[in-house]
Every structure is written in C-alpha cells, then in structure tokens.
Symmetry: C2
Subunit: 433 residues, 2 copies
C-alpha cells in the first residue's frame, strides 16, 4: 500500500446518492484522472447531506491521504453543506468572497436573469480557503489545506466539475518525486475469469510489481497490469514490457484489444482500416448498439446508421422481414435475425449489417425461448455465400438492462471476430442453436 | 442522524473501481433496496483489492452501523481478498464448505466444463460464517456477524449480486421496530435549482421531518421529501401528504412527474393513455433515444421504432431529407430537424415523431453552431397545421456524452409538454432560434 503522500481519496456528497436515487459517476472519472497523475486512490466515500458525518469523513481521509477531492454539496440550497463542514473541520468562519460574488452575479447577468437571493451563499468560503473558478455554473469550488492534506471541493454536476478539475486541480496535485504509476489493460473474450487466472498462474501473485489483476464484466474479462513505485523509468518500462509479453504469451489468443477502450471503438478502428462500413438493425436493444457505435466522435465514416425495428410492423416495413417469417418462427429466431441483417445490408449499402432480436425480459419468456435468449444476425458483402450471413444464439442471465448490454457486446464481438478472420471462435454465453 | 441500529453501510471492492476502470453501479442499487426496507444508508465506500485496507474499513463500518453489505472480491483469483479480510477481522480460519464446493462443481457440470482448480477457493468461508447461495455464478456469498453487525458479502457482477440480495439478504435485514422511512420524489423541468429552492423556502429547513431536498441533474431538478423516524404510520402518512401538498402548491407548475421514474416512462404512460404511438429519427444520439424508450419492458404498444440517420446519406435514403436542404442549411439546422421528424412521421404511421440532430462534440463546432448546439424536431398528426411541426434549439454545455443525454431528455420533454398541452413552456438550456 502506498504511503500517505502517494495516497488520494475521493468523496461524493448527497442524500440523492446514499438513498440510491442518483448514480455517482464522478468518483470513477476522478479516479481515472488521479491515477493518470500518479497517485494511488485508496478510497471513494459517498456520504449524505449531513454536516457532522461529512466533517468526520474529511478528518479521517485527510489524516490518511495527502490529497482529497470532494464533489457535491456546493449548491445554493439548505441541503448543500460542504462549505459549513469545511468551516467546522478547520474551526474557521465562512467569509464572503467579493470576486466570487461578482462572478456569480455576472453568470446570472449573462443569461439575463436576476440572481436569486439564495445563490449568495455560494460566494462563501472558509477563511483560509481560496475559490476555484467555475465557468459553467454558479458554484465556485474551494481549495483548502486540512491537517496538511490538499482538499479540493468541486460542484457535483459533471459538466461543471470536470472542466474545473482540468483547469485548476490537475496542475496542483502531483505524486512524490520519482513515483511512477503505469497501467496497461488487455481485454479478452471467449473464456471465463477462472480460466484466464489459471493460465496467468503465478503472474497474479499479490506481491509482484507490476501487479496483474483480472475483472469480469459484461461477458468480457480484462487483464490489468499495474506498476506503482519509484524505480527508474527505464526499469519500469522494461518490467511493464516483460509482464505484457508474459500476458500475451499466456492469454494472447483471446485478447481482442489493448487499453480500456470500448469494444465499439476497437471494431470501428478495424472497419476504418479495412475501408468498410456497417449498419445496424435493432429490436430488443432499441438503439443501444447505434448508441455505442456513436459514443466516440468521428465514427460517421464507418457507421452509417440503421433501423430500430422494435414493433413487428417496423421489422416488415423498414427492412422487409416477411410477415410469414414472423408468424412461423417468431420475432426472436434465427430466421428473423438473418432477414433483419440481410434487409439492413441491402437497404444501407454498408459492407456489414448487425441485427439483434431477443427476449430482454422481465416478461415474454417461454420454455423454448426463455428470458435472455438473444439472436444476433450478421450479414456481410463478399463473404462466402448468401451475403455471408451468420447467426448466433446467446442465452444471457440477468436483468433486462444486463441482457441488452450483453447483446450489444455480443453483436460487436461477432463482427470483431469476422474482421479478424476468427469466426470459428466461440463467444461466452453462446448456446448451440 | 440515525442511530447505529438504523444505519447501514455499503462497501464495493476492486482495483478496477479505485483506478477508475469500471463504474460502480452496485452501491446505488443496494442503497435503493436498503432505503426501501427502512434503513438509513450513511456511507458507500469503495476500496482497492487490499486485504488490510478492506479489513480496517470493515471494522470501522461495523462499529458505526448494524448492517453492512459488501460486493466484490469473491472471485476465484488471487486479487479476490474478501474471504481473507473477513477471516482477519474475525480472527478465524477459513474452512472449506462441502455444500458450496459441490454447488460450484455442479455449476461447471451444467455447462459441461471441468471445474478449474482455481475455483476451489470460492468454497472457503470464515468458520462462523454461512454461505449465501448463488444460482447465477460460482461465487457463494458470505453472511457473518462482525462486532455485532450483520455483514453480507456478495459477488460483484450485478446479475449475480441482485438476485442473491433479493433471495437471501432482504428477509434478514430490518429496521428497529416502529421505524419508518418514506420517500416521495417530484421531478421538475423548466426552472433552475435556486429558483426551486427560493420557492420552497422554509420547507427546506434541515431540522424538518419530513426533510425536503433538491438535486439538479441532466437539465431537471428533482424535489425529494423524506421522512425518517418512529412516529405512528398514520401521523407519518399525514405529514408526508401535507408536505407533498406544500411542494405541489409551490412548484407544481413545473412538476412533470412524481417518483424517480425516467422521463421516457412518464411519456410512454401518457402516450398509452392517449392511445398514441411514437417513432424516432436520431442523428447525433445514434439510437440513445430509442434505447431510453425501450429501457423498461412493455413499451412496444407505444414505441414503434425508428431510424438512426447518422450519416447524411442515411438522412436522405431513410427518411427523405433532401440533399439540397442538407447543402443549404447543414445537417444541424431547424430545416433538417423538421424534415427528419416529418419524414419519420410519414414513414412510420406513428402519431408523433421525434428527431434529433446536433453537434455533440468534441469536434465539429463552428462560431454559428458551437459544440452543444442541438435541434430537436417534433411532428404530430392532427396538431395544428403542417403536421404540428415544432423545432427547438438547445445549447448544452458539457462533454459529448452529457450533450447526447441532454438531447434525449430535451426531446422527451418536448413531447411531454405537447401531450400535456403545455408547449408554451420554455425548457432549460433552450435558446431562441
């Protein structure tokens, strides 16, 4: 475990988080940034809008870590208590910051609104603190030293918090001189986590540096290599390269990408290099595959678009799936998946078309087609006969959202295998038709 | 703040979480469940795969709370250390559980695989603990008492963790006799958080019970009413109803839904009651609006499907947007948004069609159309002239994903206003065309 100087902690504040109304995405984002910088994040903590509990949490984390980044609790309302908690911990009064007050007034003036009285509290900061400018909202951040730790309090909305981290915090946090963190991630598909671990063997020992770890998620297993320490950069680069070579030797046959990149991006890159384009036809995923293909900017040369054929009428009207086919085999069937893929390929002019139809649940399952049954169809130009149509059946366990996300991953994985000429490989959760 | 007996804490384990590789969704889900049950969740903590840090965290939380739910660290690999940490804290050996070993072997047998040697460690549990069955994976959970607190350790994958919580944990946690938690949430749109707070005034005082709080997220502000205490159910119901009436009186004009329900579900309900159907045509959101319309099961009577017209060719081919229109006004324009909506309406037979075209960024902005410029078009049958076409321009700040999510929300909000006959209302972030 890293020393105090090397450690960072992240705090998120809000009743809406602790009662489960909202999902905290700030801690993940901040963790990525702090890890890039070279700090070891030892804890994320989420606490309610409670002045004392937050105060106790700040005290505990400032004793354990040299850097603490807080988000939330800086709004204008009575349940925003970060300012008060900081003042408690520091035993200091809250002063009104004239510059901040003017900035908040100017913010409202720009949108031609009068500043509500309520917003004036956002200009307060503990006496020894400084405000962090917020170009995208009314809540300034607070930078202050608590028990020798650097504390950065930022507003909760990601669209305000992230630019403030980049513009202010990033330049003010650094690991102790000479400390290095290096991370590489390999993503695998097609075998389970325990088989990966068995193959990696002693490479996963917990006293190694670089440390090798695995994570299973959404049908994929990622293998992570991470170095944390103070050896010379040359030596660390060599150690990382050696470990990466070991990983590739042991599990390279099931690695489909390096880096924490989404599979959609990997597939888009392969398509771009091949000068090929893809279209999509989605039923149970309702557009999520298209959403994944467009999550990163600049895919429009490769991803044309497609159809959401959620109702059976749309399957017929939009991509020409015959009424008799739907009657005879049902919407979730090899025949319909194939017809959707071929219909989409013909109508789009793409080189490949992916189609998804399944029973995402929670209702709609039958003994023959239980919830989680998903057919993915893929049609391609110039691959084998009949448009190179290939259909695979998957049986996925879990809730509706899990089934839908795995369906997207499975469709991308099928195209990935085809683009790599590895269509003989099985995919996890795939069932013999 | 609740007493120890009323308090619960949630722990998530994994280097992949603390380095920011993966997003923790378990804490939110568990918080919702524990709050439903009547416990007050006072903390979520995420820690790395570190045996000592986890042990110290468990000790601290078991002193402060009577219920602790842990997820992660029960996999078969060397970085899965929950079993070992529990044994450390309890000062007990780990025993192999014969029933669990047989269950794990049976799990592999069902998928016709041999059990890797590695998986045998999953049959271990601290001597005083009992295993929690896992029907969807190889990792049994562990139920054990630590310092008088009930600790439930569950595997990390949500598809395994959630059913285990429902089948085992739910029946074994309860608040102290007589304790009640009641929550109601109203979602508002159209005014900022500080205006909402100003209108609510003294209702947001922190010493009230029920407590009233607000949260701004994705262009909406939710108002939360929460009671925690031990008064009689009748009195609590009356207090909740009185506070809800106050909230409705003060901000009811901008409330669009009660409950933490996604806007898509609210809109689907309104459409269903009106006997109307909707289709979508998406460019910059690539299918995310369709994804939102289909996130809950059973929307196929209302949501027909639609088109992802990501490339300009697809805008022409699929929904008939003229090449000259695209040339003259650009893909992100009132004219193209209107043509997409009208084209989709005509081709789908729906009663309404929503179209989204925008500059989601990070590239592609111009001085006239900066990143974040989004046009939403809506066409409806039988509403005014020309198919009741209405287009609104939004300027959204934030990263690509934020802009895309707000675009989805804004499109749904426009349809919501139309269905409520309130199209004269402005929406946040909307700009005069």
């Amino acid at each position: 475990m890293a020393s105090r100087n090397e450690r960072a902690a992240i705090v998120s504040i809000g009743d809406e988080l602790t009662i489960g109304q909202s999902l905290d995405t700030n801690s993940k984002w901040l963790s990525e940034r702090l890890t890039e910088i070279g700090l070891t994040v030892v804890e994320h903590v989420t606490v309610p809008d409670d002045r004392e509990w937050l105060g106790a949490t700040l005290r505990r984390l400032c004793e354990a870590c040299a850097t603490v980044v807080v988000s939330g609790g800086l709004g204008p309302t009575a349940d925003d208590l970060t300012r008060e908690s900081l003042a408690d911990v520091l035993n200091e009064p809250l002063d009104e910051d004239g510059d901040s007050l003017r900035a908040i007034e100017a913010w409202f003036a720009r949108s031609s609104r009068e500043m509500p009285r309520q917003n004036r509290v956002q200009a307060l900061r503990p006496r020894s603190g400084v405000h962090i400018p917020n170009p995208n909202g009314t809540a300034p951040g607070v930078h202050v030293t608590v028990l020798g730790a650097a504390v950065f309090c930022l507003p909760g909305p990601p669209s305000e918090m992230r630019p403030m981290f980049e513009a202010y915090v990033r330049a003010r946090v650094s690991p102790p001189e000479g400390r290095l963190i290096r991370t590489r991630v390999f993503q695998t598909m097609g075998v389970g986590e325990s088989e990966i671990a068995q193959r990696l063997g002693g490479l996963m020992a917990r006293d190694r540096n670089p440390l090798v770890g695995t994570t299973a998620s959404a049908g994929m297993v990622s293998v992570r290599i991470r170095y944390e320490g103070s050896e010379s950069a040359e030596r660390v680069d060599r150690l990382m390269a050696e470990t990466a070579a070991d990983v590739e030797r042991l599990v390279g046959d099931v690695v489909f990408a390096e880096g924490g990149r989404p599979l959609a991006d990997v597939v888009i890159d392969r398509l771009r290099r091949a000068g090929q384009r893809v279209a999509t036809v989605e039923s149970c995923t309702g557009g999520m595959l298209g959403g994944a293909m467009t999550a990163l900017a600049g895919s429009s040369d490769v991803y044309l678009g497609g159809w959401v054929t959620y109702s059976n009428e749309m399957k017929g009207w939009l991509v020409g799936v015959g009424h008799d086919l739907l009657e005879r085999h049902g919407a979730v069937s090899e025949e319909v998946a194939a017809a959707m893929a071929v219909g989409g390929l013909e109508r789009s002019g793409a080189d490949h078309c992916l189609a998804i139809t399944g029973v995402a649940g929670p209702g709609g399952g039958t003994p023959e087609k239980p919830v989680g049954t998903v057919w993915v169809g893929m049609a391609s130009r110039g691959v084998g006969e009949a448009g190179g149509v290939e259909c695979r059946r998957f049986l996925m366990r879990g809730e509706r959202e899990t089934v839908r996300q795995w369906s997207v991953t499975s469709a991308l994985a099928m195209l990935d295998l085809r683009l790599r000429g590895r269509s003989e490989l099985k995919l996890l959760r795939q069932q013999a038709p």
